[in-house]
Amino acid sequence: MNAPQNPPQKPRGNKPGGRPLDLKNGRVDMSHGAGGRAMAQLIEDLFVGEFNNELLNREHDAAMFRLPPGRVVMSTDSFVISPLFFPGGNIGSLAVHGTVNDISMAGAKPYYLTAGFIIEEGFPLSDLAEIVKSMAEAAKEAGVSIVTGDTKVVERGHGDGIFINTAGVGVARDGIEICGDLAQPGDKILVNGTLGDHGVAVMSKRENLSFTTAIESDSQSLGDLVGAMIDAVPDIHVLRDPTRGGLAATLNEIAHQSGVGIELHESAIPVRPEVKSACELLGLDPLYVANEGKLIAICPAEKADALLAAMQAHPKGKDAAIVGEVLQDARCFVRMKTGLGGTRMVDWLAGEQLPRIC
């Protein structure tokens, strides 16, 4: 279903623009969003050039395609991040991974994405080119095509460099029933690896917090991992990616959606030492720190070992672990057996997570 590797060459007649885009020193200006030649040139040279697939290359306003049988799954996500470039990725790769993962968390295989760009006047074309290139690479790795898009330019001061929205469609094959409201008491809870890497990588580059660490964002697409997991254990009940608000927020959402309680085991939760250190430094809790390449899987207890084995056998799940179980609890509390041997709640985050320092 994916785009062929070598799309047919189109005849190039009245080529828009004139002078080629100055990707080294040029900047985005209002004309790049005005619908004229400059915009056509930006689209053709940069977006079409990088994303390069049969559906996009027709340069129609909408992409037309057929999907394989099953239920169509759709998702959309907008990406605003500071800094735009962070260790292990940038807003472009993140924008692809985010939507691909949202579709994958429905147990579906993602096929096509859209990409909408809102760019602030003055944004360096070199940065834009790097972002677009990362999106193209991320899409290729995830096996999806970016088939239609949109570009708007806003006046200087009216945007934070660049915002990207992606939407995507995928297909869940019949018989797969994965949703946040399907957790059952007795189920086991698994994660595919270390928590908090993305949030810490991004924070390490924030001006007012800066610290030095080798930690990179875990931003990655999870479609192939999910495919392997579903092949091993088709009756996974819940899949979710713990992005903003981290494991804690996502488990609280699942507990409420499913009307269940959850118990975590702190000592089983994988966290890198550097992430622990950074969290100590800032008075943060790794359970609340964002991830962009992690998933939570909830499945019947008797399938947990098989699922764990399938995850650990995949490169994106080699550090997978069983971290807790689902309980019967009408109050939908998420609690945790602490590493020290006590118990505590893991509540919703109140407001945004801020460093606790004075």
Binding site: T212, T213, R356, C358
Partner: protein, 80 residues
């Protein structure tokens, strides 16, 4: 609150600042509030300032005390 953590001094700079490390994370720290800091010392870091030196002998003594208290109580419990 007074959030503060022990960090190891890994570099001393000419400008009165040090670089301190907590397993895998390096942060700048001011030495304006603490004299006699040497490379390899552990300092208590608070809002970017080294506030006190950590005494490794006292740390060991305290850990030993925890172990002794616990061992005694657990042994008694086992007997009872």
């Amino acid at each position: 609150m007074c959030h503060a953590i022990p960090a190891k001094v890994v570099a001393l700079r000419d400008d009165g600042m040090a670089e301190v490390e907590l397993e895998g994370v390096i942060k700048e720290a001011s030495l304006d509030l603490l004299d006699g800091v040497e490379l390899g010392d552990y300092v208590i870091l608070h809002v970017g300032y080294a506030l006190a030196k950590l005494d490794p002998d006292e740390a060991q003594k305290t850990l030993k005390l925890f172990a002794e208290m616990g061992a005694a109580a657990l042994a008694e419990g086992a007997v009872a």
